[in-house]
């Protein structure tokens, strides 16, 4: 999901100044995601990644984790406009330095006898796991920091990839750090 044609895979700049993480509690109602995406598009705010799932309170609310480009518009503007969406219940702004960020990567890689050993090394070094195997390919899973996922993605470039998906990150404030609401 991106407000601009720019693909996000492999292009995320992880330097702390550029992006910000907004953890947004929304009503779990039809069209809420379209309202958020439409707002970002029409105001010219860029989204790096966006992850949605039912929130802790059950079916009534969902949590949307949005990684925003804090240079496409001032964060204050993004939060202010987002807060005006009636279905948005609460916004937590987590600064990257105070955030515990995780992302899931799934990749299916073609394997043969020549590359199998080096692939297994890479998987082991990254702390990734093999979650599916057949005679010609393996599917690798990694839950790690976005930087960790970037590293694995780069390492896997040497292999013939069938498919690679990333979820976009979710985040919580580090213990002892307070997020600004």
């Amino acid at each position: 999901m991106s407000a601009t044609p720019e693909p996000f895979l492999g292009t995320i700049d992880h330097t702390p100044v550029r992006h910000h993480i907004l953890s947004v509690l929304v009503e779990n109602k039809a069209g809420v995601l379209a309202r958020i995406a439409g707002l970002f598009a029409r105001r010219g705010f860029n989204i790096y990644s966006l992850a949605v799932a039912p929130a802790e309170s059950g079916a009534r609310f969902s949590r949307v984790t949005i990684v925003v480009d804090a240079e496409s518009a001032p964060l204050e503007q993004i939060v202010g406009q987002l807060d005006k969406l009636v279905n948005v219940v609460a916004i937590t702004d987590i600064s990257p330095k105070d955030a515990l960020e995780r992302e899931l990567l799934l990749a299916t890689i073609k394997t043969d006898v020549d590359n199998r050993t080096s692939l297994l090394d890479i998987i082991a070094n990254a702390g990734a796991a093999i979650v599916d195997v057949d005679t010609k390919s393996v599917t690798v899973m990694l839950a790690a920091t976005p930087g960790g996922c970037d590293e694995l993605e780069r390492a896997l470039e040497a292999f013939a990839q069938v498919e690679l998906h990333r979820t976009g990150r979710v985040a919580l404030p580090r213990l002892g750090k307070t997020a600004s609401a």
């Binding site: 069209g31 001032p74 202010g80 005006k84 969406l85 009636v86």
Partner: protein, 571 residues
């Protein structure tokens, strides 16, 4: 009590105290029109759905109460998109009800289906697609709550035909909690520290200006503004959206700022050391080139919508509040600027040097549009409401009519919607039947929505329309003359085609024409004697007249161009 969703919808509108709905029926909304027959609510049957929307806006702007419009699905819904967008730009409280195809047909490209909640997502404060009849009372109550609180705006309720037809157990939410809006918190408590910082800025200011925007009218803060301005002696400017918030006759009023603002209003802001912005949003039509706008001024920005802070201009102090509460807090802290005598003597010099002027009209015509407006105003009853379209005539109507109270100026500001005038005037007159309502219109605007005069005649809404007929799309012509080397591209309309008098008569109105000063006065006098049917006067005006003062698009407000009669001096 079991009733249909349609009955519940009408009953819910009655619960909200709705007295009038502007609309036009069609297939998907048919079930809702049936119980309307038995309702106390008045329905105004429009000739085009755009008219319904602008009438609801005119009603809201003149009365301060939310306007309600009801149309069918598909083209009925898309035809009201322009008024919804207009109301969104001007923060006008509106509740729009659209019919939708039956729930089971949604998404199948059914006859007269369109995704109106998707289309209006970006131009409503919120919208609802109602899924069951039982939900209708909540949706209506929530819609009115959203439309009228916080920063007001348009809210749309889309009602599928089967939902309107199915049965429900009547109920109505009695508390805000039952509206089920967990993410909506329109009112915020005033922050004492923020008020203290604002007061400190006011206390040290020597050249302050009260920059009054539409939010002052929306929060009904005119009395608080008058009290604060008179206690502090601070000069006041009122934007296009705030005309009437502060009396034009008041000695502290410098007039409208911006692209076609009064020289003194524009210049006082430029030279100010403190702008106290009250429900204004630093629109590009006010600021001109932003880096050059009031460069030496600090800014206190009062707004109910925190997303307005630092959007265009850095706010030294941002006060999230409705305007009335903020002014009361400033007063309670006795905020008082320093001695303003030097500031006022500068201001008085500008006023003396650059008042609003126009060339002397000749007896034979063509008429001067500014003179026509002054002539109508001179003979208008106190409290007359003026509605306008968009363009030169709108700027002259803002400049040359004197507005003394809220709700007397009805216009399309942010969106600049041509054709707004006639239907908005009708809506205003429906809401304030005790008042005289003049629509100051242009010939281009009139042709866009004039069919609603049929509505006005049929419904007994006797508005008066002054067409300033210069045979051109005048504002575009002005720009082509000034900035496109007089290369006039597609702006000529003809003064005689259509024949406005015959057209007015065909619509059941009185049609009059004035080409010289004698006819002008006679036509206005005749119009003032007619109170049972609408009157249209075709005033033949000079097509070379331009709106001054003017700040060219993208130019600094320092480079304001005054009227040619005033040039030769420094400007």
């Amino acid at each position: 009590m079991q009733i249909t969703g349609a009955q519940a919808l009408i009953k819910s509108l009655e619960q909200q105290g709705v007295e009038v709905v502007f609309g036009l029926p069609g297939g998907a909304i048919l079930p809702v029109y049936d119980p309307l027959i038995d309702s106390s609510i008045r329905h105004i049957l429009v000739r085009h759905e755009q008219g319904a929307g602008h009438m609801a806006e005119g009603y809201a702007l003149a009365t301060g109460r939310p306007g309600v419009a009801m149309v069918t699905s598909g083209p009925g819904a898309t035809n009201i998109v322009t008024p919804i967008g207009n109301a969104h730009m001007d923060s006008t409280p509106l509740v729009v009800i659209t019919g939708q195809v039956a729930s089971g047909s949604i998404g199948t490209d059914a006859f007269q289906e369109c995704d109106i909640t998707g289309i209006t997502m970006g131009i409503t404060k919120h919208n609802f697609l109602v899924k069951s009849a039982q939900e209708i009372p909540r949706a209506v109550a929530a819609a009115f709550h959203l439309a009228t609180t916080g920063r007001p705006g348009p809210v749309l309720i889309d009602v599928p035909k089967d939902v309107a037809q199915s049965m429900m157990d009547w109920w109505y939410p009695s508390t805000i909690e039952e509206y089920d809006l967990p993410g909506y918190r329109p009112e915020v408590a005033l922050d004492e520290d923020v008020i203290a910082r604002a007061v400190a800025l006011i206390n040290e200011s020597q050249r302050p200006v009260l920059y009054v925007g539409g939010g002052t009218l929306k929060s009904r803060a005119s009395a608080e503004l008058l009290a604060f301005a008179e206690r502090t002696g601070i000069p006041v400017v009122t934007t296009l959206m705030a005309r009437g918030a502060f009396p034009d006759s008041h000695a502290q009023h410098l007039g409208m700022p911006g692209m076609h603002g009064m020289y003194t209003a524009v210049t006082a802001m430029q030279k100010s050391d403190l702008l106290i912005s009250l429900g204004a949003r630093f629109d590009d039509r006010v600021t001109g080139r932003i880096p050059a706008f009031a460069a030496g001024a600090k800014v206190i920005h009062v707004d109910i919508d925190k997303a307005e802070f630092n959007k265009v201009r850095h706010a030294d102090v941002a006060v999230q509040s409705n305007v009335a509460a903020a002014l009361l807090a400033f007063d309670a802290a006795s905020a008082t600027p320093r001695n303003l005598d030097a500031w006022w003597s500068e201001i008085r010099e500008w006023q003396e040097q650059y008042p609003l002027v126009y060339a002397e009209p000749s007896h034979e015509g063509p008429l001067r549009p500014q003179h026509v407006i002054e002539a109508i105003a001179a003979k208008a009853a106190p409290g007359t409401i003026v509605a306008s379209g968009v363009g030169q005539h709108q700027m002259w109507a803002s400049q040359f009519w004197k507005y003394e109270e809220p709700g007397t100026w009805v216009n399309s500001g942010g969106a600049g919607t041509m054709g707004f005038g006639v239907p908005a005037a009708i809506g205003a007159k429906v809401g304030r039947p005790d008042r005289t309502v003049w629509c100051i219109d242009g010939d281009g605007c009139f042709q866009m929505t004039a069919q609603e005069l049929v509505t006005a005649r049929a419904e007994g809404v006797p508005i008066k329309v002054a067409i300033l007929n210069n045979a051109y799309l005048g504002m575009v012509r002005q720009w082509q003359e000034m900035f496109y080397e007089e290369r006039y591209s597609e702006v000529y309309l003809s003064a005689d085609l259509p024949d406005y008098v015959k057209w007015a008569e065909a619509m059941g109105c009185v049609g009059l024409r004035a080409t010289n000063l004698k006819e002008m006065h006679e036509a206005i006098d005749i119009a003032n004697t007619i109170n049972d049917v609408p009157v249209v006067i075709d005033f033949r005006t000079d097509s070379s007249e331009k709106v001054f003062p003017m700040v060219a698009a993208g130019a600094s407000n320092d480079d304001i161009m005054v009227h040619p009669l005033q040039r030769g001096g420094s400007k």
